[in-house]
């Protein structure tokens, strides 16, 4: 739990900034049986990022990385919209799109675990080719669809709560159950710690790695459906562009190491919320659009710095007995680093 302390503090600080600029920021109200409010918006617009980050967390836990999720987001939305615009069967469109995403994920997993290509390059292939594939599906155009039942996925409500938030809760619940209540999480962490040692210990490393890439692609696929449904259109060019970087950032802010071997689902959700809140804050505070990236860079740097134990040690030098014991501790860190 202590690992989550700093992300929580950062999120609280960001929300406080919002409260300062918009006093009514925390108010949530009911309109026509739906929940409305800035906090709900953060959750609603952050839902795709949370989903993608969840998948990314497991991939990173195995010591890999998945750069292709942005392209998978675009492909999923494009295929679903194409299918709906052709004959209107929403369910078949969703199943088809998610099926293709799982296939793409299996392909990534096969390249990493089967062929043995370094994950960053293996998924770079699909990142480049997948963006082209999405544009091929949409024929370089933006496909708009007019389907109320498809609209539900990203823009609808169920029991007054936006459907997207519920979807995230379900995926989060299932993932948390599978990885923390069953042995799967430990297996993933052990593969991330040392794939070869895990294999010798009797764990099917390959199967685990392929599974997490398929899961990451599936999550990205659902996120793609959400994004496409929210705007009722598919844009092969721009849907999910650079979402992989935000997702990786969310995972790391949440305390998961890129070296693999351990992960924190709660931390990832917090990380994704921090990034979404930051985006909302930048807009609500009224930063000119040219400097949004600059602000983002500074906040990200600050968040990462404040999370680093070494930085806190150097900047917030504590007086008293801890200061005298520090050299010894530092020595130990240097040897085990």
């Amino acid at each position: 739990m202590r690992r989550l302390l700093w992300p929580l503090l950062v999120l609280a600080a960001l929300l406080a900034v919002n409260l300062f600029f918009t006093p009514s920021f925390f108010s949530v109200e009911m309109k026509e049986g739906h929940l409305y409010g800035s906090l709900i918006d953060i959750l609603r617009f952050g839902a795709p990022l949370i989903l993608v980050s969840l998948g990314m967390t497991l991939v990173i836990a195995t010591g890999g990385i998945d750069l292709s999720v942005g392209s998978v987001v675009a492909i999923s939305g494009a295929l679903a919209c194409l299918r709906i615009s052709e004959d209107g069967g929403v369910l078949s469109a969703v199943v088809l799109a998610l099926g293709l995403c799982v296939l793409l994920g299996l392909w990534n997993g096969f390249l990493v675990a089967g062929v043995g290509i370094q994950p960053i390059i293996a998924t770079l292939i699909l990142m480049v080719a997948g963006r082209g594939l999405a544009q091929l599906i949409t024929d370089g155009q933006i496909i708009t669809v007019n389907s109320p039942s498809f609209k539900v996925i990203g823009g609808g409500y169920l029991l007054t709560v936006p459907f997207g938030i519920l979807l995230v809760l379900v995926v989060l619940g299932v993932t948390a159950f599978l990885t923390r209540r069953l042995a799967l999480g430990v297996l993933i962490e052990s593969v991330g710690g040392n794939a070869e040692a895990s294999r010798l210990a009797g764990i099917r490393s390959r199967g685990i790695v392929i599974t997490v890439y398929a899961f990451a692609a599936l999550c990205a696929g659902v996120a793609g459906l959400m994004i496409a449904s929210n705007v009722s259109s598919a844009d092969g060019n721009n849907a999910g562009l650079w979402i992989e970087l935000d997702a990786i950032l969310a995972v790391v802010i949440g305390g998961t190491s890129l070296a693999g071997g351990r992960f924190s689902l709660g931390g990832t959700v917090l990380g994704a919320l921090i990034i979404q809140t930051l985006t909302t804050t930048i807009y609500s505070v009224g930063v000119p659009p040219e400097t949004t990236l600059l602000v983002k860079a500074l906040v990200v740097a600050a968040v990462c710095l404040v999370q680093s134990p070494k930085f806190r040690d150097k900047v917030f030098r504590r007086a008293g007995p801890r200061a005298s014991s520090r050299p010894a501790a530092e020595e130990k860190v240097r040897v085990t680093a």
Partner: protein, 332 residues
């Protein structure tokens, strides 16, 4: 074709040390691709086509050299593309607005790039934050600075600058190169010297091989890590200057995604992302392979932009797969 290469490798087999195999495989595949292109397209198998690959990718080559240093220590630098864009932006705006002369602007740009790298390297080293994240923040920062300077493309009209950019250096038999190529080649040679014949180079390999062992041997690991990010920042800035020669404009959207090209080039060249293993020659070949893929696609003509992306992905896949197969076979 490929079996011939395989046979050649197999025949020479034992005499080639295992560490050179990935580079040799990349070289073999590059030649194979060039020959295949020569058979398929008219006017492909000429010296100028190879030189054009150099001319069109001189900036990428310089950036990839910096990236090689970083990856050899086991790090990664995602900021390079943005620093390239920032360099074009700063040069263009300083020459267009206050009318600064190039001989002031270029050193300033190189200094800014190195300083950015230095700061990122220091953060990576001093606060133990993962390089991926630090340089990602650096990427946002540099790109953000570009947009703060201006959101439009700024043309470069300085006479000295444009004259230098349009210079053609004639070689023998109607072949020519641009001054950028000369600069890139010099950078490669200096970098190769530093990596293989200096203490810094030795420490770079040692740090990437095992940081802990390097520390225990008393090598200056921290200083080396800061140094490689500074080198990468410098190379990115220089790459940006070369790109402004090539484009004759500064624009915040230049070189989007170039970091991935640079990483791909380094990895195709046989360098391991975990660090400690790889050669600069491999990186050069990696850049050439990426450039040749572009050339093949331009000779193919009539491809829509999405087919181009799909083909780049496919060729990348085939290439990495072949390289993987050959290297794996050699190792057994």
């Amino acid at each position: 074709m490929t079996t011939a290469i395989l046979d050649r490798l197999g025949a020479r087999g034992r005499s080639v040390p295992a560490k050179y195999v990935p580079v040799l495989v990349t070289a073999g595949l590059f030649v194979a691709m060039f020959v295949a292109g020569g058979i398929r397209y008219e006017g492909f198998a000429t010296g100028q086509v190879v030189l054009n690959v150099f001319i069109d990718n001189a900036f990428l080559l310089v950036v990839a050299v910096g990236m090689t240093f970083v990856i050899l220590t086991g790090g990664i630098d995602l900021s390079v593309g943005s620093v390239v864009a920032l360099s074009t932006m700063i040069s263009a705006s300083l020459m267009a607005g206050p009318g600064w002369p190039p001989y002031l602007v270029v050193p300033l740009v190189l200094l800014i790039g190195s300083a950015l790298g230095l700061v990122m390297g220091y953060i990576v080293h001093a606060f133990d934050i993962q390089p991926f994240i630090v340089t990602l923040a650096g990427m946002f920062l540099a790109r953000g600075l570009c947009y703060t300077i201006g959101t439009d493309s700024i043309p470069i009209e300085d006479p000295t600058f444009t004259a230098f950019a349009q210079t053609r250096i004639d070689l023998f038999a109607d072949l020519w190169i641009s001054p950028s190529v000369v600069i890139a080649v010099v950078v490669v040679l200096v970098a190769a010297y530093v990596l293989h014949y200096t203490r810094l180079g030795r420490t770079v390999y040692a740090t990437g091989g095992s940081e802990q062992s390097a520390l225990l041997m008393g090598l200056p690991v921290g200083r080396t890590k800061v140094a490689v990010y500074t080198i990468s920042g410098f190379c990115s800035a220089l790459g940006g200057v070369l790109l402004s020669f090539y484009m004759l404009s500064g624009y915040g959207l230049h070189a989007v995604g170039m970091e991935l090209d640079a990483i791909a080039a380094v990895v195709i060249g046989g360098t391991l992302l975990t660090g400690g293993s790889g050669f600069l020659l491999g990186t050069v070949l990696g850049v050439l392979v990426l450039g040749l893929i572009q050339t093949v696609l331009s000779f193919e003509g009539t491809l829509s932009s999405w087919w181009t992306k799909i083909f780049i992905g496919l060729l990348l896949f085939v290439f990495i797969l072949l390289q993987r197969l050959f290297s794996a076979r050699r190792r057994i």
